[in-house]
């Protein structure tokens, strides 16, 4: 195909681009201070979270403690019918023997239910923050057929601004925590699509259902 000598090197493109961008003077635009803003506050963020999560296809379940959540989970048809499960929450469901080491996500393709801890929820959009910075379980939360989350009921933030404030370093930036690498995601309800005639179908590629336990205790 192309002879290597004829190809411009990557750095030549970079150099040319930066020369062009630096050679142009644009008027300054101030970066707004987001801390100076007033955002919506819900009277009852937990109730708001439950309402929105329900609206996006998820199932919020308020329980007294982990034991109550566990008892509820065992009654769920998706759990009762599951052949393979993985739980990353002590006391909430169990992991099928042989799956605890999570060797490769390919080998988890048969998992029916996966159980995760959510650090906090967001009232305005029903999202839960899942932190995978110390593990490689992120594939599990989309490859499992059903998703179960456990979030403390006291840990509901009003808006995304507070959510990011929670994930921030002491100086308000995210250089340290995010800058250490890894993966995290907001998940709001089960996987869905409306690509066929705008008809909403739950269960596109990821979880077919999402149950979120809100723990009082």
């Amino acid at each position: 195909m192309n002879s290597p000598a004829a190809e411009p090197s990557v750095s030549a493109t970079r150099t040319a681009l930066f020369k062009k961008l630096r050679g142009r003077l644009l008027e300054a635009v101030e970066l707004p201070d987001l801390n100076a803003e007033q955002w919506i506050r819900y009277d009852d963020p937990l109730a708001q979270f439950e309402e929105v999560l329900g609206a996006v296809g998820g199932t919020p379940v308020r329980v007294a403690d982990l034991a109550a959540a566990n008892a509820h989970l065992k009654q769920l048809p998706v759990w009762a019918e599951a052949k393979q499960t993985v739980s990353l929450v002590d006391g909430l469901g169990e992991t099928t023997e042989g799956l605890s080491a999570v060797p490769d996500v390919h080998e988890l393709a048969g998992v029916d239910v996966a159980v995760f801890d959510g650090l906090f929820g967001v009232a305005e959009n029903g999202a839960v923050w899942l932190d995978f910075s110390h593990s490689d379980h992120r594939g599990l939360c989309v490859i499992a057929q059903h998703l179960v989350l456990a979030v403390p009921a006291s840990e509901i933030e009003h808006t995304m601004h507070e959510a990011y404030a929670r994930l921030a370093d002491a100086d308000g930036s995210h250089r340290q925590k995010f800058g250490r690498g890894g993966f995290g995601m907001f998940v709001s309800g089960p996987s869905k699509t409306a690509d066929i005639e705008q008809s909403l179908v739950i269960g596109a590629h990821g979880a077919r259902s999402l149950t979120c336990y809100l723990l009082d205790g």
């Binding site: 990557v10 681009l17 955002w39 996006v56 990011y164 250089r175 907001f186 699509t193």
Partner: protein, 487 residues
Amino acid sequence: MKTAEHPDRARAFVADDARAHWHDESLWFVRTKRDKQAHSVPEWERLRELGSQIKRHAISRWPDYLEEFEKNATALGAKVHWAANAEEHNRIVLGILQEAGVEKVTKSKSMLTEEVHLNPHLIRNGIEVTDTDLGERIVQLREETPSHIVLPAIHLKREDVSETFNQHLGTEAGNADPAYLTEAARQHLREKFLGAEASITGVNFLVAETGGFVVCTNEGNADLGTSLPRLHIACTGIEKLVPRAADLAVYLRLLGRSATGQPITTYTSHFHGPRPGGELHIVLVDNGRSDLADDPQFRDILNCIRCGACINTCPVYRRSGGHSYAATVPGPVGSVLNPLHALTPMIAGEDAREGERGDAHGSLPFACSLCGSCTDVCPVKIPLHHQLLALRKTVGDRGLLPWGKRIQMKAASTLLNSPKLFGAVGKIARKALPVLPKMAVYNRLNAWGNGRDLPPAPPKSFKQMWRDELKAESAQPSSNGAGDAPR
């Protein structure tokens, strides 16, 4: 340069009246959902203002933030590549895949890879590439292009999808149930996911401060795709930058609500460096973007977060379909981006750049009623209809108007510059129009007469009516005393 015309390309779509109406209503439904979500946030207008300001700030310090992103992403273990154009982007991506010996790739939605025609390039070089967004997979199987940036298969009815899946995935003939078809695609694509040796994703936001990036999907395809094979290539335009992770809050509050009327997409994934044992490449593509910052009139188009709200609300898009734009990005934003991209070198006195399909897209700024709805819904406050109007002038100045329109414009300019001539022509027209044969009025010289009828000619001109009114007033003393303005 070829100047294919939007009205010509829309003709077939418009001819199927029932389907055109259905298309119109489908998109209006999405627009309605967007309104409901936008109204649920009291600080919505403030968020739009902030969304605009943060992006304008980022562009004002573009090289600084790009450099910061590159430095931080590299420190996290990602390999950052720079591509000046489509050709270089495709060569880089192919090179990475070939070096890793990859033969099968899954790809989540990325309008950038559509723009640079990555798929045909990979396929030509023996790599199987599977689009995994349901809408994109449907159009890929049909060998079509997406007709919308967020809803790629919005032009198709469930019966069309049923036929396509019957042919390619072996689903039951005649079964057009969306749940059944989605399930079939899920099973089919799971196999593709599990067999892939690399995954390609787009990017919604690059975060300069951390060197990470965010990808938003509802289906979970970006997450499933990237968590299976060890190689991940993220392809992105260089304008997707935000300075701080905290800025993501502003855009994530705006994006899902504006795009599909959801409070947020189902999955909002934050990638920071490769996963353990994995390999992450980030390909930053210019492809004409850096030129767009030069003109202050058009600079704000770089704010675009590709939500598609302007497309959903556009009366022309809704009634002409995405394929009539013959470009990856259709609708109001596409009608600015595509001609701007093609014409920017001309503004600088150089030859026009060949746009997609070698078209200068000169007719797109005219595919607009200037209703301004796009500007009203844009979450990052791009003055879209003002830009479209300004682009019409550019297209005219560059001699890219079709000759019929050019002659009419010239005639109108002469006519409207001379009150005497205007009066005389008006007088003649009022007499002549009612008696002229239809052919003399509606011919190819009259582009505006295509599909539109003139209203019946009034017996008198406005000036005559005004004069007659004044005469009548002065003949009959006003009851309200002197100084009263004529009614």
